[in-house]
């Protein structure tokens, strides 16, 4: 049965019963039906499960579901509310997506980076993303996408 927690998920207030040892990643995927957040390693090494908690990126595989009680959560599914985020658009245009498994986590991180720093240097981009692994792209077009998104006016970021 567990304990009832309530939080804002992608702009909507949600309530759910969770066990004390239940991880946010599992609650999102199994109880909320939001499978865009990925299980890659389960131990915080790959970054595929990254979500925004109160605007900051966290690894949902290392976050207890209980800890999001009363907070605001954004997953990849909730990122584009009315229109695509600039970073999503540049990902499409630059061919930054291959298998797409790391993509949600990387887009969430890029969004967070651009919110904190509107015009990061290439090295700052690389430093910020070093915890997100991608095995397909060699990161070339991912970095290109973020550089291009950074150059643009980013009011909503």
């Amino acid at each position: 049965m567990g304990k009832k927690i309530s939080f804002i998920l992608n702009g909507v207030k949600r309530e759910v019963y969770v066990e004390p040892n239940e991880l946010l990643l599992n609650v999102l995927r199994e109880k909320m039906g939001l499978t865009g957040t990925k299980y890659g390693c389960g131990i915080g090494e790959c970054g595929a499960c990254t979500v925004l908690l109160n605007g900051n990126p966290v690894l949902s595989c290392l976050t207890l579901a209980m800890d999001v009680d009363g907070k605001e959560l954004v997953t990849i599914e909730g990122l584009a509310q009315e229109e695509l985020q600039i970073i999503q658009r540049t990902f499409l245009e630059e061919g930054a997506v291959q298998c797409g498994f790391c993509t949600p986590g990387i887009i969430i991180m890029a969004k967070s980076l651009l919110k904190n720093k509107t015009n990061p240097t290439e090295e700052e981009i690389r430093e910020y993303l070093k915890g997100n692994l991608c095995r397909c792209t060699g990161y070339v077009n991912i970095v290109k996408s973020i550089k291009r998104a950074a150059g643009k006016a980013c009011k909503k970021c």
Binding site: T35, I76, L92, V97, C99, I107, L129
Partner: protein, 783 residues
Amino acid sequence: MTETREVTAERGPFFFKRELGKEEGEYKLVGREIERPDAFSKIMGLTKFTADRLTEDVCFGKIVRSKYPHALIKRVIVDEALQIKGVLAVITAKDVPGENQIGYAIPDQPLLADKKVRYIGEPIAIVVAENEYAAEKGVEAVKVEYDPLPAVFDPLEALKPEAPKVHEKGNVALTTIIRKGDVEKGFKEADVVVENIYYTQRQEHAYLEPEAAIAYPEGDGIRVVLCTQSPFLVREFVSRVTGYSQSKIKVIGAPAGGAFGGKDDMGPMVASKAALAAIITKKPVAIILDKEETFVASNKRHPAIIRYKSGATKDGKLTAVEIEIIYETGAYANRSPFVLWRATVHSAGPYVVPNAKVDGKSVYTNKVFSGSFRGFGDPQIHFAAEQQMDELAEKLGIDPVEFRLRNVLKEGTRTVCNQLLEESVGMEETLKKVAEAANWKKKREELKKYRKGSKVRGIGVACAYHGISTSRGVPDWSAAAVLLNEDGTITYRSTITRLGQGSLIGHAKIVAEILDIPLEWVHIEEPDTSASPNARPTHGSRGLMTGGTAAADAALKLRRTLIKLASELLNCDEKNVKLENGKAFCALDPSNKIEFSELAKETYQRGYQPAYYGFYFVPRRYFDPETGLGVAYCVYTYIANIVEVEVDKETGEVKVLEAYTGADVGKAIDPGLIEGQMQGALAQGIGYAISEEVAFNDGKIINPNYTDYIIPTVKDVPRKVKVVIIEKPYSSTAFGAKGVAEAALIPTAPAIANAVAHATGVRVRNLPLTKEKVCFKLKEGKK
């Protein structure tokens, strides 16, 4: 030796120009970069990978694995596990209704070990439970009683007569051979001879998505959804294990979160277990490996030991090679016959070598089995071949690029297997273009200035070639289906799978180009063995080349039907009917036209066939396995990489600063997708060269995670990467396309090793080039 060629239809660029009545420049999709149609759902987090399809009724299967590298199984005690709440069944070898055999080419590998285990992590039993937690508890509760046996972990040890036998028939899984010309004479003619031993390590695929399969009992059959590279191969194995006829098994290929060969081998193994569990419990069952299991129990790139002797004359011509290859296959042969043959027939690199003696051995040890991994045996052998080339060049005082150019395969020359190369041989042009892009000559001189201080720089080159499709005389074909719907849209079916590479996007582009309709009108169906024709595996860089040619065959058949129909409707001679931008019109009077949707409706109304099966059979010729001579592959992709590195002489750290990679791809159906493949393969090659190595302690993998097994992060890849695409079309395939997915990885490690040698004067012949190894070599060099 006979060299008769099987007759195949010519389908290359000239054929398509003629058939479509267009010049290449007029193509709207082929040759042009497009925005990937599958990317939108990925950036929205909506793509459904296998594990994203779990529903509440799905049970979980977890695997009991061997704790010993080599032991007899005395007993498997399952009673306690069965007492756990939620546990539905514990399945062992005796419960397998069909054959308990999963060996790919050699029947040496059980699905569930019964008599003996041969590596740590080998599956022994499957615990099926209503939830994951109960399944995990169940795994802990299963007791396996072992009788440990002496184990062997080193391939050279395994070859000794007194070594423990991994398999009854001995530790050599198979051998390969090439005997060409007279090697002794060749070395006599040589002015310089270089001989070295090279060592390469086990590499883990490390795709982010772990292996997963969900099996559903359905009527009197079964449906399996999984990330796989070959739905039909999965079906074959599920049939073998369950005893179900193939017609009662439906396999759906879900998008994979990376595969790189790993899911080619693992797909059938994971799917068979899930299917077995579903049949026995009569419930849908998911088997999803956790990351540690993936590291411990999935196939790896074969480690290799290669003794390589090569000779050249003072004017820079190769005279002979003598090569001994040992590929460690681990506990089971798996794909070794194919991997070792590929390595053997590519062993001289993309060069003309008149005399060759090559002997390959695949050796069993008590470690996790080796298997398919991007490059499939070629990265190891090129690591040796391409360093040999640099050493010969150095001894001869010839520039390494120049030395290679004097020996490269060209049209009309013969490979190490004596295969006459008749067409589509772009090695020379690829190397020249890549050298030009990298500004090779100037850089090679300039970087000599970076020799002072602790950080030094160098630039290195390596070439490679890679046969596409299956090797030797092994038949290969592909199929596809095109259905014209009544509204003019197209339903496209193939079982080439979606691994991130985008082969099916290439197929759709080919279909849309041939029909001259917008790409959005072609809907790609999910690969499904019950509905899609057998396109055969998505491996060997064949997904686009063979699958796309089958797609073209189907689309051309539909095109011819539509032209005939339009001729009737427009009252216009067939030769004057044009298909353009989703319309058909008469060239004599363009206002006499009909919309594609109308044409589609009329296809049905007038009794024309609306659906077509496309088929492509890959040209093959004679190959003699007794001498290793003959036609090894129908066609090859040629690759050249140049890298600039910085070596920290204090720490031994190697950094790749810039990388240039080029390939002759036949025809680029989508240059953007090709760039993506080459950039990714390059990064995987950098990991292979510098940081990646599966490490063992007494047969147990000690780095089964991303913290200890280091794949490149965004900080570890070069800041400058340039891809060069060369097109030497192949006359047998759609628009002349060849394969490219594996290409750029193959010469990456030797290019880096050659650059390190240029920077430091020290040569590392042992992968990966870790800080320790480079440091040690530098110290050794100083003495």
